[in-house]
Amino acid sequence: MSIVVVDNVRKSFAANEVLKGVSLTVERGQVVALVGRSGSGKSTLLRCLNGLEVIDGGRIEVAGHPMDYHPAKLRALRQDVGIVFQSFNLFPHLSVGENIMLAPGLVKGCARLEARKLAEQVLARIGLLEKIDAYPDSLSGGQQQRVAIARSLAMQPRVMLFDEVTSALDPELTEEVLAVVEQLARDGMTMLLVTHEMTFARRVADMTVFMNQGRIWESGESERIFRQPQTPEFRQFLSSTLK
C-alpha cells in the first residue's frame, strides 16, 4: 500500500486552474523531488497533501488517512504528516525548545519532562542542542530552518513535506539545511520535496517529478530522468537551472 496516493487531483484559485488532474503515488521510505518553474503547481500540490489547500476534484490519501476536511480528521492526518515551510514560521515568542515542545504537549498530551527530552533528542539529531533555550531571533536563517525541521520531527510524522526550504536562505546557509534533509532521507523518512536544488534532488531523491502548467510532465527515477530528459520542456528547464 502506497503511503501517499494522489489521484487525478484538480485545484483552482478563482479562475486560475493550478492543478489540472495530477496523479502520483509514493512508497514508504521513498524520497520524491518535485521540480518545475514558478506557477507549475508544485507548491500547491504539496500544500494539498496536508490539507492547507482544499482540492476541487480527485482524491488524496496520506499515511492511511483519506483526505477529509473535517477538523478532527485533518488534525489526525497532520499528526502523521509534517511540513517545513520556506519561511520557517517559527513562533517568535517561544524559545527553540518551547517551539518544539508545543505541539507534542497540546496535541499528544506529552508531559513537560517527556516533551523536553523529546526536544533535546530531535535537536541533537540536527545538531542544535545548545540552542534549546535560545529565541528564534537570535538564530541564523539556516539554524531557524533546522529548528523548524526539528519541530516537525518531534511529532514523529510518517511523511514529511518540504516546501522550498532553502529558497529563502543565503547560499552559505543552504548547505547545513540540505545536510539535515539528506540525513533524514538516509534514516528512511518518506519525503516529498519541492526544491530548486537540482543537484541535491538528483543525488538524494529516489524519484523526481517535473511539473509544468499544472500537470505532471515527466517523472521517474531521478538519475535516469536527469541524464535522459524525455520532453523538450524538461530539457529546457534543466538547462536553464543547471547553468
Partner: protein, 238 residues
C-alpha cells in the same frame, strides 16, 4: 497686567484635592481592568466568529468611537433612570469609562490579532493543533505583546477622560478642582495645580503600565517581530 497668583487658599483645601486624586486613580484602575477585559473578550469572540456574526462587536466599536464620551456619560447617568435603572454618579462614571475603554481596546486587540501573519497560523495548524490552541498559544500572546504600547496610551487616555465625570458632579480630581474653585475663587491657581497633578498621574501610569507589560509578557514584546523570515516571508504559490 496683574499676574499675582495666590496658591495658599488652594493648598488649604488639600484634603479635597487628595480625595479627588485618589478617586481618579480608583476609577481609572477599575475601568482599565474591566474595559481591558471586555476588549480582549470582544476581540477574541470577533476573531473566532464567522464573518456574518462579527457585526455586533463592530457596531459596538463604531457607536462608541464616533460619539463623545460626555454624551455617553449623559445617556448613562440621565438616560438610564428614565428606563428605570438608577445609579450613583460614581458608578455611572465608571460604567461609562468601562464601556468607552472597552470599545477602544477591542479595536486595539483586533488589530493585534490580525497582525499575526497567516503563516504562523498555518504552522500551528500543520502541527495538528486545534484552532483554539493555535489562537491561544500562537496568536494571542504575541498579539497582546505587540499592541501593549497602544494599550498603555489608551489606558492613559481613559484616565484623562475621567475628568469629564466632573460634569455629573463626581468628585474626582477635576470635580475637586471645581469645588475648591467655587470655594476660594482662585480659579487659575487651582487648575494649574490640578494640571500638574494630572501630568504626574499620566507619567506614573505610563511607567507602571510599561513595567506591567514587561512583567506579564516577558521577552514576547521584543520578539513579536515576525520570525517567518528569510528573504520573502511569503509562501509562494507555485
Amino acid at each position: 497686567m496683574a499676574f499675582e497668583l495666590q496658591f495658599a487658599p488652594v493648598v488649604a483645601d488639600a484634603p479635597i484635592l487628595l480625595h479627588g486624586f485618589w478617586l481618579t486613580i480608583k476609577l481609572s484602575v477599575s475601568a482599565i481592568c474591566l474595559g481591558g477585559s471586555i476588549g480582549l473578550l470582544a476581540a477574541t469572540a470577533r476573531s473566532m466568529a464567522p464573518r456574518r456574526y462579527q457585526w455586533p462587536v463592530d457596531l459596538y466599536v463604531e457607536l462608541i468611537r464616533n460619539t463623545p464620551f460626555l454624551v455617553q456619560l449623559y445617556i448613562i447617568f440621565f438616560g438610564l433612570p428614565a428606563l428605570g435603572i438608577r445609579m450613583s454618579a460614581e458608578y455611572a462614571g465608571l460604567l461609562a469609562m468601562t464601556i468607552n475603554l472597552g470599545a477602544y481596546t477591542t479595536e486595539i486587540f483586533r488589530a493585534g490579532i490580525e497582525s499575526i501573519h497567516r503563516s504562523q497560523i498555518e504552522a500551528g495548524l500543520s502541527l495538528a493543533l486545534t484552532r483554539r490552541q493555535v489562537f491561544q498559544h500562537v496568536v494571542l500572546k504575541p498579539a497582546v505583546a505587540r499592541v501593549w504600547p497602544s494599550l498603555v496610551s489608551q489606558f492613559i487616555l481613559i484616565m484623562l477622560a475621567s475628568s469629564v465625570c466632573s460634569f455629573i458632579s463626581v468628585e474626582e480630581l477635576s470635580g475637586a478642582a471645581a469645588l475648591i474653585q467655587s470655594d476660594t475663587f482662585r480659579s487659575l491657581e487651582v487648575y494649574i495645580l490640578v494640571t500638574v497633578l494630572y501630568l504626574l498621574l499620566a507619567l506614573a501610569f505610563k511607567i507602571a503600565l510599561s513595567f506591567l507589560g514587561r512583567w506579564l509578557l516577558p521577552g514576547a514584546a521584543g520578539r513579536a517581530r515576525v520570525t517567518s523570515g528569510g528573504k520573502t516571508g511569503e509562501t509562494p504559490r507555485s
